[in-house]
Assembly symmetry: C2
Homo-oligomer: 332 residues x 2
């Protein structure tokens, strides 16, 4: 089975955006509404059949770990209450999709984060989606401020309630930011990648993985800049007497393969232990065009992985085995 | 001639730090003082002979483009006036070093930036160091706030006075941040690299290089995450109808080779045009240890470049020719 660990519902019906804008228009009086119930099964099918499902078939992948659109999370907008409803609607859509297409998608949820609000406000939604809806993981936004980085870092005890719940429920988190209102940072070009490296270094320089040894975090987009600068990080760890990088990430930190050219994937597999790599494409995602140098989509990352010449055992590990390790609730 | 485009005076005598702390202790009454005059030639020689100069000899490099210690710039500390004195002292030390060792070092200056202060306050110092002291370039801090990113981005007209002066004087800028007070970001592990990608994307997504077509910017640390994600950036440019990446950076944006392992250097040279790569090591810098996998220093980047099997013409280009193109005032 070939499992793509990183897919977002980027083709959601427009009703969701309309709902969100109605929230913004009257934040003092948000009510739950029924947008996720009002969207029909046919709409869901239509939004997926010509996109993610078609591309799964064309590219030869079987299953996508599927979560709400990352840029739509926009935790820096709305309000604490508005974002509770927003997360609930998004997660309900993901649930319905996974019920409609149990052979194509497995559900991962977004959290009702909001700047300055302790993330223990996310516990109810985590329990709901895991215990009631069968979700197998969450996306955790390390910067709910949208590019201002003024909430506490991932090693701060601020996050411990979420980590404790993750440990209890045996679910991993993909560390994934959303949009940004800071003009310095383009969202998919800068903020996403900078957040990846930021998380990686927070794990390297802190004791959070010692305090929560069973937790598993996925750093998307091939680990941001980390593999390209692997020597820098090995050297920094050595100079500063931190736990060596390979040892630090073992059983705890994983990178996906959302790197959109062959030389990048080659590098990733050359330096990062294969135990720590999960196949992913973020399809349909940030980059949708066809690379004129190859004739195939930039984000058709399976082609790059296939071209590595991995052994059968290694292929199985990266395409399936590691995903099962990271997502123990994935049972298919 | 083998020219290292990226060296900082990291081994400066302790008097400089004492001076800086005295500034902090009484910011309302800073006076210029004479710290850079008080440090003797013997102290300067002693600080360099056993470090940068010894390593130049051991590693077979001839010349280092030399600038103040990046982490010491700390534009987010001090005050506008304190930082004017601070930059002046640092630049005077760099000047004296280049007078003492004209065959080893060529001078690049730091600027007296301060958060919220229009960078036109840097013009006097730029004119002084270039016209009076023979400096050949500057380091420009794209985030003088120290990790909070609240000043305007590089494409904002806020920066135009500096760009106009750079164009007039024919000097390039290395885009290089300093320390950070934001706990999210480790300075040499996160903030430096994130700033590199941030600058790269700001050039890609704006018209600033069209407005200032003769300007040349060096993005250090191998371009941050950009080469590892080259397909992502080519794809984003294509999807968004931006100028294609290779065309956008041509004659304008350059990456150094401060990538501390062979696979990273291999990737850099595979995807980035050789016209846009300058040899650099940031020695003595962020990573000082010996890589047990190779037996050599992580930051001995010349070994990685030598191992690429470049043609003689390509070697000359990366080790010397491109530096001369980027630094037209370098005449040795």
């Amino acid at each position: 089975m070939i499992i793509d660990c990183h897919g977002h519902y980027t083709t959601v019906p427009a009703e969701m955006q309309t709902y969100r804008e109605a929230q913004f228009a009257d934040l003092a009086n948000v009510s739950r509404g029924s947008v996720s119930e009002d969207i029909t099964d046919d709409q869901l099918r239509e939004s997926l059949e010509g996109a993610q499902i078609k591309l799964q078939r064309e590219r030869g992948t079987d299953m996508t770990i599927f979560s709400p659109r990352a840029s739509a999370m926009a935790h820096h907008l709305g309000s604490e209450k508005a974002n509770v409803y927003w997360a609930e609607h998004w997660n309900n859509l993901i649930y319905r999709i996974c019920q409609l297409y149990p052979d194509n998608f497995a559900p991962v949820g977004m959290l009702p984060q909001f700047p300055g609000v302790n993330p223990k406000n996310c516990i109810d939604e985590i329990e709901r989606i895991v215990n009631e809806l069968g979700f197998i993981g969450i996306n955790l936004n390390p910067d709910p401020t949208g590019g201002w980085w003024t909430d506490p870092p991932l090693f701060d005890e601020w996050w411990y309630p979420v980590y404790e719940k993750m440990a209890e429920l045996q679910i991993p988190a993909m560390v994934h930011v959303s949009q940004t209102t800071n003009k310095h940072f383009h969202f998919t070009g800068t903020h996403y990648l900078n957040a990846d490296l930021t998380a990686f270094m927070q794990f390297l320089t802190s004791d959070v993985l010692d305090r929560f040894p069973t937790l598993k975090f996925i750093i998307p987009h091939g680990g941001g800049a980390a593999p390209y600068h692997w020597g820098r990080y090995r050297g920094l760890a050595q100079d500063n007497n931190w736990t060596p990088v390979a040892e630090r990430i073992k059983d705890s930190v994983y990178f996906d393969t959302c790197v959109y050219h062959q030389p990048g994937i080659d590098l990733l597999f050359k330096v990062v232990p294969k135990d720590n790599i999960l196949f992913g494409s973020e399809m349909v995602g940030a980059v949708r065009g066809i690379d004129p140098e190859t004739g195939f989509n930039y984000d058709d990352t399976k082609r790059y992985v296939d071209a590595l010449g991995l052994s059968d055992a290694e292929r199985t590990q990266v395409y399936e085995g590691n995903v099962r390790t990271v997502f123990p609730r994935f049972k298919r």
